[in-house]
Every structure is written in C-alpha cells, then in structure tokens.
Amino acid sequence: MNREHLSAHVDGELDEPQQRVILADLRNDVDAVQTWNTYHMIGEVLREKRVLHMDVAGRVAQALIREPTPLVPKARRLHASTPARWLAVAAAVAVVALSTRLLQWNDLSGSVAPVAQNTASAPPTQVVQANPALNPPAQLAQAGNNSEAGAYVAMHHQWSPLSGFQAVDYVGAGAAR
C-alpha cells in the first residue's frame, strides 16, 4: 500500500486510476483501513479539538454480513446540453426526413413510370393501386395474370404498412412480357 497516496485520497487529491488502486487496497488490507481511520481521526482532532473515542465499525461490519445487499439499478442520465444528445436528435430528424422523402419519391416513380411507358408503346408493366379500398384483393389477383406469386402478394397486400402507396406488380409485368 502506498500510504502517501492513501493520504492524498483522504484529501480527494488523487486521480481516477490511483483512486481505484487505493480503494482496492482498502478492500484487501486491514492496515490500510486502520491508517485511513487514523488519518481521519487526526483531522477531526485538529478541527474539533477533541474526539469521541468510539469504534463501532467492527460491530457494524459483523451485522452487515447478515444483511442483503441493497442493489440499486444503474440510472443512465442524459445531460441536457451534451453534444451527443443534440447529435442523436439531429440524426433522428434526418432519418425521418430522408425516409419520408424516399417514400414520396417511390410514390412518384410508381405513378410516373407507366405513364412514360404508355406514351412509348403498349405498357408491359401494370400499375396496381395498393389501397385495398380502391383495388380489392380479388382485382389484384386478376391483375397478377393468374400468377401464384401475384395472388399471394395481392392477398397480403392489405396488411402491408405501405398500403396507401402505389406499387408495381413486377411478377405480373414479367408474365406479360
């Protein structure tokens, strides 16, 4: 045990790694605890002129053996003004904005593509309205040209989180070719 470090620890003047070493010493070394106690007692006498001679630490330690450990879950604190927090908020906003933009872009491309193809020649791709209210599953299945995969997609399309957006029935388009 480094007693000079122990003395500095009593004064709160050790850095983190040295503190860890001293706390480990205090856990394992009876002499270290006694010295720590004596250093505190010296300070009390100097400040208060007298000291009450009382030593219940041993009795308390014995009693604590029978006590269950009062475990406290570690609380994670978010400090209000940390840069990491603002960075996280900015990243979340960016992700939401990008996702919305992409979905809008998908919506537009799904609507525009067949129009472009219509102007060129016969449309190889059939556009399906994904909204079940507009296009019931039965119609979707027909649009799939009896393709099993198309029927499967049509059957489950009403549960899709993207219902309300337009989608392209690529299976049906392939079959048409």
Partner: protein, 242 residues
C-alpha cells in the same frame, strides 16, 4: 475562510513578515490572484468522495459502506451522544443507525451530502430508541436543524464519556497536539492549511510557494508522524478488523 485567518495561520510558520498587516496583505494578494480561482485539477470534494463510496455500496460493495462507517462513526457517535444517556447506549444507537442507513441505501439519490442524510437517520434512530425506552424524545427543532451538525459539544462530551473513554479521548487529543508542536514548520503549516483551513493542495502550493507534489508529501509526512505516536494508544492489533 478569511484572508486574515490564512495570514494568522501562516505567520508563525512561513517566511518571516514584519507585521501582521504585511502578512494579511500578502495573503490577500494570493487570495485574489491565485487562491480563490484555484479550483482546478482532479480534486474531489468530501461529498464527492462519499458519493463515490455510496455508489460502490449501492452496486453491492459492502466494504465501501464499511469505509463510510469507519469515517463517520465518531461524528455520528457525537451526535447520538447528545440524546442518549451513556456511552454504551450511544454505541448501540450509532450501530443501529448505520445498519438502518445501509438498509435504506437504495433510496439515497445523492440529493444531499451523505452525512446530512446519515445525520437524519441518526437523529430518528436515537429518538425512536428513547421512545422505546419510555423516555421523552427531545422535541426541540435544534436537533433537526442541520446547523446542529457543527454543534460545539466538547463540554457535553466531558460529562458523557465514561472515565476510560474520557481518558482515551483526552490522550488522543494531547498526542495529536504534542505531535503537531514537534513537527517541522513546513509540515505543520501544510497540514494546518489542509485540515483546519480546508485548502486544496493547489491552494496550499500557491501559499507555500512550492510544487503540489511537495505539498502532498508534507501533508503525508505530517500525518505519519502524528499517527506513529497515536498507534500505541489506539490499541491496534492484527486480529482486529479495524
């Protein structure tokens, strides 16, 4: 701490000064220029040190709590001794208060200093003890006042201690004071500034015009010199836990 008190403490031990006023002006200059703003480095306050041990205890390290017991047993004992009749009762109530504090440790959030929290538990434990004994618990708000933590009760201790405990307390105080007088000047000044004035190592280094490492060494050597004289009186044997 006032500038005058710094100067008064330094006068006998440091560079000779012609007058008290010179010393006051000198200390005032240091205070204005370097002492007050020197809240730097990795220094932890007493409260932060305690909180560190509390956090360890809350994470399941009983030994960390035992260190807090070692640190505060005399202070809490003094508090309890103002309420109960004799030293045996005071020891029992103090022990009970520490155990109650340990059981309630999960609820301690660090909103107040650990000792302030422990102080309240000590007061309540002592009051409950008195009620259980059929004795009247004090109703005065003085005991509930946190200022009472600093109550000067030297005379009360004199009446309270058993003759053996009284003798021991007096011997400890005399040994510490005699050891202080025997210390070299620079060691005595360093430990006084730390323990009585509560200055940080940085502040002491500025006042004594020496590196922080020297301050740390001087305070350590002063403590060791005093502790060396105290050890025979404290009945420290190898088979004891503390």
């Amino acid at each position: 701490m006032t500038t005058t008190s710094i100067a008064e403490n330094l006068l006998p031990y440091t560079t000779p000064r012609d007058t008290v006023d010179d010393a006051v002006r000198w200390a005032a200059g240091l205070t204005a220029q370097s002492v007050t703003p020197l809240k730097v480095g990795s220094r932890m306050t007493d409260r932060e040190l305690d909180q560190q041990l509390v956090a360890r205890a809350q994470a399941g390290d009983k030994h960390a709590f035992e260190l807090l017991v070692v640190k505060y047993q005399r202070k809490l004992g003094r508090l309890v001794s103002r309420l109960v009749r004799n030293s045996a009762e005071a020891e029992d109530v103090t022990q009970e208060a520490f155990i109650k504090a340990y059981r309630a440790l999960g609820a301690f959030r660090g909103d107040s200093a650990f000792y302030t929290w422990l102080y309240r538990i000590g007061i309540n434990t002592a009051k409950n003890y008195l009620v259980a004994q059929g004795r009247r618990a004090p109703t005065t708000t003085a005991m509930d006042n946190e200022e009472a933590e600093n109550f000067e009760d030297a005379e009360r201790l004199h009446d309270f201690n058993t003759p053996e405990a009284e003798l021991m307390s007096r011997q400890i105080a005399e040994t510490v004071n005699a050891s202080m007088e025997a210390l070299p000047e620079e060691l005595r000044t360093a430990i006084r500034l730390r323990e009585i004035e509560g200055l940080s190592y940085d502040e002491i280094a500025s006042l004594m015009n020496c590196p922080i490492g020297t301050v740390r060494s001087r305070i350590f050597r002063a403590r060791e010199a005093i502790a060396e004289r105290l050890r025979p009186q404290l009945d420290i044997s190898k088979d004891r836990r503390w």
